[in-house]
């Protein structure tokens, strides 16, 4: 049970694709100027990651290791084409907004990396879970960046005005430079939190060791 939970959970924070692994950064900057776009991109990537992990895992024993990368690429390209067609048919506005970045999901490093590192070695259930967890972690990061950018850049959240009227939107947050600055600061914050956690863990371990030592001496 713990292993199942961990397979899913590690993608959320511990190995967050954007902040920790620093993979697939292009969409994190390009389509996060509004929350809705960020959410749509997150859904699309989660779907592709999960489906691709399942496909790769099913065929993991039949694919010759020498040709594995072309096989993975073909599988990813097929799934992405399906996603594109579905979005174009049912959500044309979102399809327009995501534009070229939806086609670029094909070459996201995170999808190929999960297929290579995880799905080619594990069974279907764990692979699907791993892809889903990673996708959700990606979506959380996208939503975080998207909401900050939209809030400060145009004073709205998912299209609803939330800032007081006197607030003057900082246009730079919507523009490309703001995206770079914001992600830089967010990575710094993630690292800072990670440092505190490490320190706390170390202190806790040290305390336990001291207690054990004291117990031994007492006996």
């Amino acid at each position: 049970m713990q292993k199942i939970w961990y397979t899913f959970y590690k993608g959320l924070f511990e190995m967050n694709p954007i902040f920790k692994l620093a993979l697939s950064l292009c969409p994190a900057l390009a389509v996060t100027s509004t929350v809705v776009n960020a959410f749509a991109m997150g859904i699309a990537v989660t779907f592709v990651l999960t489906m691709n992990n399942i496909v790769v895992s099913i065929f993991r024993n039949y694919v010759n290791p020498k040709v594995r990368v072309p096989v993975y690429i073909t599988s990813i390209a097929t799934i992405v084409t399906v996603t594109q067609l579905v979005l174009e048919a049912y959500f044309p506005a979102i399809f327009q907004a995501l534009g070229i970045y939806l086609a670029l999901v094909v070459v996201f490093a995170i999808i190929l990396a999960r297929a290579e590192v995880f799905a080619s070695k594990n069974n279907v259930f764990y692979s699907a879970l791993d892809g889903f967890g990673m996708g959700i972690g990606f979506m959380i990061a996208m939503l975080l960046i998207g909401s900050i950018r939209e809030l400060f850049g145009s004073g709205t959240l998912a299209g609803i005005s939330v800032m007081p009227d006197m607030y003057n939107p900082a246009l730079i947050m919507i523009l490309p430079p703001g995206a770079f600055l914001l992600i830089g600061i967010l990575i710094g914050m993630f690292n800072l939190i990670g440092q505190y956690q490490d320190k706390a863990k170390e202190e806790k371990m040290q305390n336990e060791r001291m207690q054990k030592l004291a117990l031994q001496r007492g006996e």
């Binding site: 292009c26 900057l29 690429i73 084409t81 070229i100 086609a103 070459v107 914050m189 800072l192 440092q195």
Partner: protein, 192 residues
């Protein structure tokens, strides 16, 4: 003149890295040292120009007449990956010196958003052959320019006192933000 405008717009105004966010993995991975980024810039520019010529031919003579445009994504990505692999084999066989200089970059390029993105943009904008070539070459030069600028900045940064949590990727992003801000001054230079 039209081609010159297209070229300048691809190099500076619509710079691939700083305004379209393509090729960021390479941009942050390679820009740690100046020599590597120069080599990478040249490699990306040449591969991109060649592969977009190939992709244009496939799109114009095969996909478009047959009405198979919905397959563009899948066909392009396989085409480019195969082309780069083939180029790597040819270079290794006939010019080992060139391979030593370049070889390591070629594998990194094979499936990368910048090399894949340009042919897709060309196909979507409906460019003709010359326009596609000019646009891809300009985009490559723009990428190389941004990469070399970034590498020079990061080399200077080595002796700076950076706050501990921002070390590495964090400060690199903030630096790229500053760079993007200065490139932003060029927008509006070319009427659209």
């Amino acid at each position: 003149m039209e081609y010159f405008t297209l070229f300048m717009s691809a190099v500076i105004v619509n710079n691939f890295v700083l305004t379209r966010f393509l090729g960021l993995c390479i941009f942050f991975g390679v820009s740690k040292n100046l020599d590597a980024s120069l080599g990478m810039g040249v490699a990306v520019t040449s591969i991109m120009t060649l592969s977009s010529a190939l992709a244009w031919a496939v799109h114009h003579y095969v996909l478009h007449p047959q009405g198979l445009e919905f397959l563009t994504t899948a066909v392009f990505v396989v085409l480019i990956a195969c082309f780069v692999q083939l180029l790597e084999m040819i270079i290794r066989k006939y010019s080992p010196t060139l391979y030593n200089m370049w070889g390591i970059y070629l594998l990194l390029i094979a499936t990368n958003c910048i090399v894949f993105g340009v042919p897709v943009i060309n196909a979507e904008s409906g460019f003709n052959f010359t326009q596609s070539i000019v646009n891809s070459f300009g985009s490559g030069v723009g990428f190389a320019l941004a990469l070399v600028l970034m590498a020079s900045l990061r080399e200077k940064l080595r002796y700076a006192d950076v706050p501990k949590p921002l070390e590495g990727l964090g400060i690199a992003f903030i630096l790229a933000g500053m760079l993007a801000l200065s490139f932003f001054g060029f927008s509006g230079m070319i009427p659209t």
